[in-house]
């Protein structure tokens, strides 16, 4: 309740609400559009043709098919592995470590590393896919520089290790975001607090673990939520690299969703898949929300 006693806020409530108005209008529009996407999951809406105009309600049929037809459950498992290793372990941890290390580094090294990770983030998905498939192909960089000189036969990485390769490619592509967010977050930790900890004899590790991490906890939770959502729904890179194959090895839910809504043209079923994805990430986010709470 402390905040409400702040006179510069209570005295200007009208202005504050007025400031929120544009956002409220736009959020209203967003809710309107997403309500459509929700509603579509109970219809047989198609992408093209007659059923794109004259669709009808089909009740829970689309949701039943998630479990009675091949595809959804298999893809869910692939997605869980992909998200856990590429987003949570890869991007988030690596991004934080980089942000924490680079904060004290001279600017040249920092600039070089930043350019490197930023290039991945900014390269169009489709080009990143070509780049990674060229890197991992039988005549690619890894085979030419490492595998063949060591006397092994060239390895067809995408054929044999498809999921690990797309996972690494996604770490490469997406770490920049976590790095940026954590850098900005660490920036907001006041120097005095860190200095005080140093005077008290804390090691660099302790300073990060006991002082900085707790302060930026909300940012960590937010970042977990964001990258989980993005990685769950991220599809251009995998789709361009392997198309979900070989077979179904890299068919994540996002690829499955695309195949059902666009290739097959069943927007109704596609919407049901995305609503199910929403529910799954919704449950996950309850765990992340706990991070937000102060441990006191």
């Amino acid at each position: 309740m402390r905040n409400q006693a702040n006179p510069w806020l209570t005295g200007n409530l009208f202005v504050l609400v007025l400031g929120m108005l544009p956002a409220i209008v736009l959020i209203g529009a967003l809710l309107y559009f997403t309500a459509w996407a929700f509603a579509f999951s109970f219809t047989d809406l198609a992408l093209v043709g007659r059923k794109s105009v004259e669709w009808s309600w089909v009740g829970l049929e689309n949701f039943e098919r998630l479990f009675t037809r091949r595809g959804f459950l298999e893809s869910l498992w692939t997605t869980v592995i992909f998200v856990f290793f590429s987003a949570i372990v890869g991007q988030s941890v690596l991004g934080f470590l980089l942000a924490a290390t680079l904060r004290g580094t001279q600017s040249t090294i920092r600039s070089v590393v930043e350019v490197c990770i930023m290039l991945g983030w900014l390269l169009p998905d489709i080009v990143a896919a070509f780049l990674w498939s060229a890197t991992t192909s039988q005549t690619g960089l890894i085979n030419q520089l490492i595998v063949v000189p060591l006397g092994f036969r060239p390895i067809n990485f995408i054929n044999e290790y498809a999921l690990p390769i797309v996972t690494v490619a996604n770490i490469w592509k997406g770490t920049a975001w976590s790095y940026l967010l954590f850098s900005a977050a660490l920036d907001s930790v006041s120097r005095e607090v860190v200095e005080a900890a140093k005077v008290d004899g804390a090691t660099p590790f302790q300073r990060i673990w006991l002082v900085q991490l707790p302060i930026i906890r909300p940012h960590i939770a937010t970042n977990m939520l964001f990258i989980t959502i993005w990685t769950f729904t991220y599809f251009p890179l995998i789709f361009a690299m392997t198309g979900g194959g070989p077979g179904r090895q890299t068919e994540t839910l996002a690829v499955f969703l695309y195949n059902q809504s666009f290739a097959r043209g069943n927007l109704g079923f596609g919407s049901a898949i995305s609503v199910a994805m929403l529910a799954i990430v919704g449950v996950l986010s309850l765990f992340y929300l706990r991070l937000l709470r102060e441990p006191k």
Binding site: N6, G19, T34, L123, S274, V281
Partner: protein, 270 residues
Amino acid sequence: MDNTGPSRLTAIALAFMAVIWVSPFSWLILNAFNPLSTGQLEIPKAFGFDNFGLAVSGNAGRQFINSLIIAAGTATLSVVVGISAAYPLSRLRIPGRNALLWTLVLLRMLPSAGVLVPLYFAAQRSGLLNQLGVIIALTILNLPFTLLLLKNFFDTVPIELEEAAYVEGASLLQIVTKIVLPMSRAGIAVVWFFSFTGAWNEFLLPLIFARVQDAFPMSVGLYAAFGQQGAINYGFLTAFSILYAAPAIGVYFLLRRNMNTGFAGVGVKG
């Protein structure tokens, strides 16, 4: 100053990582400067700027301007709308505001495919099948992320500073512009850049919203590399994507330089 500076070992480790990180780009560079590029990783027999000439020969100049308008427009609109809503959200005790923001962010999981059709019809009815329409649509789609991020950054600004300013007679506007915004400068920059890159890479919305081909941004222009029956012009593709990514990286460094002179290093009285 912070003298926890890294040991030589950290520097070497970082440099090593940078090398690994950047090594896949060899493919991009080798193909871009190879006039006879085939998409294979090989040392070019010839070296030249033909591909870059090809990449800028078409509509690239116009497309670059369009990309810039869409990306900067989206980023600025997102940040302005976001700030004016996130500050009250951060400071006023609105019940369930966190749950609300998280729910909004979660809703963004619903694919734009489902949203696309109603969005398109709405834009058509309001006469917004143009770049302004793309900017507004992208702002709408960004807003949940923007709001949550900005609120988090405002939360970390100590309210005591605002109290002190109020006691000294500052108005709300002064408090926000003189204290809150400068203190969250890094965060605002990140959010702006996030919206900027998102819009810079957006392909589908500009493609379907544009009524004339002069309105296409670079993300659409890139696909000129793809012909029929899977024939791909790799020289064009690689050269174009270098030209395409470079401005966004430039924007990042402009932004970062301005960020560094700001809050970092300024002590905060607790």
